[in-house]
């Protein structure tokens, strides 16, 4: 009986000892967390060369601000300032009590969108609400407002909208202030305006720690899908708040000959972000890809419109949307 008890104890003890096979959790002091953040970005961020950022120099500037007595808030602020130098809206540090961000890609530019003007002067309660889309008819032209790629739609929503405007002179797709969302919705929407299969864009993914370690380019195509397509003139309205998935949408649509873009540059956001957990449990998000239009243009810094138009103050005072008015004039 004793030997069976001993055997059982050995088995249980052996199982419990497995923790010696695992390394310990990494150190959780401010310096270790700062270094972990810097290293994660150094080995994973995709735009150092494109943006001409010397990340080693950034380390020498910010590392002296951290020591083992640095408190959490101070550490967060120093890390946030360091990440701010990346000039990337896809870069955030989430500490639970706050989330760092860089919104310079739209804060330094005219807003170019006023929902009150659109709602009161153009929709006038005649608009339809189909899923996340708001649409109406303006001067025989279809107007479709899509506010966020985080709002999911399906094929039936698109079927209805395309069917409603099939006899319209054209369609205006207003994606101003659309900050992005789910990437899979981009081809779903764009395919309804595709005249044929076309190369939408290419992308590369970080596959090594060096700043220029990328996969071979991957081609992304868009082709007609769904019950019906609209291939008459289409105008997309953009402003600096068009970011991420919206940026990809504009990049995709610009390949169609019947599509034009009016407004301001998009805000950019051509890198798909990934997230990593730090030793202290904070999470850093950063871009891990680069994307290019078929002509090689890197869309990280934004996409220029075909017709640059800013909303004017005089129009705003008259409850007129300068950008929308220009689009309507182009479709007359």
């Amino acid at each position: 009986m004793k030997k069976y008890a001993l055997l059982l104890s050995l088995i249980v003890g052996f199982a419990s000892c497995e923790y010696i096979l695992f390394e310990e959790d990494p150190a959780d002091d401010p310096i270790s967390n700062f270094d972990a953040l810097w290293r994660a970005v150094d080995e994973g961020y995709s735009f150092f060369e494109f943006k001409r950022i010397n990340w080693d120099s950034v380390y020498t500037v910010y590392r002296p601000k951290v020591n083992n007595n640095t408190r959490a808030l101070e550490l967060f602020n120093t890390m946030s300032d360091m990440l701010f130098t990346l000039r990337d809206g896809h870069v955030n540090l989430n500490a639970g009590f706050n989330r760092s961000r860089n919104w310079e890609w739209f804060l330094g530019f005219p807003p170019n969108y006023d929902k009150n003007i659109i709602e009161r002067n153009y929709w006038r309660q005649q608009e339809w609400y189909t899923g996340p889309f708001v649409h109406t008819v303006l001067d025989s032209v279809g107007y479709v407002r899509y506010g966020s790629f985080s709002s999911v739609f399906n094929e039936s929503h698109l079927d209805l909208i395309i069917a409603r405007f099939q006899n319209a002179k054209g369609i205006i797709i207003d994606v101003r202030d659309n900050g992005g969302g789910f990437g899979y919705l981009v081809p779903l929407l764009a395919s309804r305006f595709a005249d044929q299969r076309r190369l939408a864009y290419t992308f590369v993914v970080k596959n090594g720690p060096a700043h220029n370690d990328f996969t071979t380019p991957v081609k992304v195509y868009v082709e007609p899908q769904g019950e019906r397509q609209f291939t008459k003139p289409v105008i997309i309205l953009t402003n600096r708040m068009c970011y991420s998935a919206t940026n990809f949408f504009v990049a995709t649509m610009k390949n169609f000959p019947h599509v034009r873009v009016i407004g301001d540059w998009t805000g950019g956001g051509g890198g798909t972000p990934v997230s990593k957990e730090l030793p202290n449990g904070w999470i850093v998000r950063y871009s891990s890809t680069q994307s290019f239009m078929p002509n090689g243009f890197n869309i990280e810094g934004g996409i220029p419109p075909d017709i640059q138009v800013n909303m004017t103050e005089s129009d705003r005072l008259r409850n007129k949307d300068t950008i929308l008015e220009r689009a309507l004039a182009e479709l007359k």
Partner: protein
Amino acid sequence: MSKCHIIIFQVIKRSTASACRALCYTVLLTLYAITALSGQSEDNARSKSAFHLKLGGGASLQTIRDQAMSPLLYNGIQIGIYAGIDVRGVRDLYRMDALFWLGETSSERSGRTSENYTYTINSSYLWRVSPDDARWNWHLGAAVTNWGSFRNHQSLINSNFFYDLFFSTGLTAATERHFRLFRRDWYADWQIIVPALTYGLRPNYSGLDVAPPDDDSFQGFADAQFVSFGKLLNVKSRIELVYPLLNGNRVGLLYYWDFFSTSIGAHPAQQSMQSAQLSLHVLLSKR
């Protein structure tokens, strides 16, 4: 995270409750069978050959450090189901164990959680190398194993899906012994499997698990390679206490331990699974 992953994990979440119920029913049925403890046959000597089907369930403790997911240690309780077969001949044994676990792990430091589902299928062919009258019956043989562990860490957007997928062949050894305890017949069985050659699949360098535009079929994101001990150290150990019932059926209490440490792909990972499974072995045929 792609639509596909969202749907899979919603299904798993909803099925957790039903899986708990299924586990309870399995345990109750097994306990009912065990109430025939007084019903051991007088002759519990091993048959010359026998084919047993094993079904059961239990729980496990999973411990993970996957550098692709986090530098922190994650652990948690999983619930599991177990199925297997034992095909025993005069001198040989074919055994297959299939275990599936479902649950969450969490980090003590960050408090974040990861939804996990893990399976392993181990097939072994063993040949008895000890004499017929030996107290300990030793077996040596070969094994083919398949391990899959999938984790969804919802706090890590676009890089929340992590996995280890191993297809291995290796060596195995087992020993078993009959003994009497509390005036009953018992068998103790210990088998160890050490994979020697593995085709392993781990997440890609960036951790990105969605290719714009969310193309789940994109294969370029996984790091897959043939490896041996230099890149994957894996040990699988099963200890089973078997209690023969009437008519050649049996009840088994299995302790299964699986540990690996790998540097396949860009980020090393270590994982262990300690599992206890209670099962009913139904005799399908014997000679």
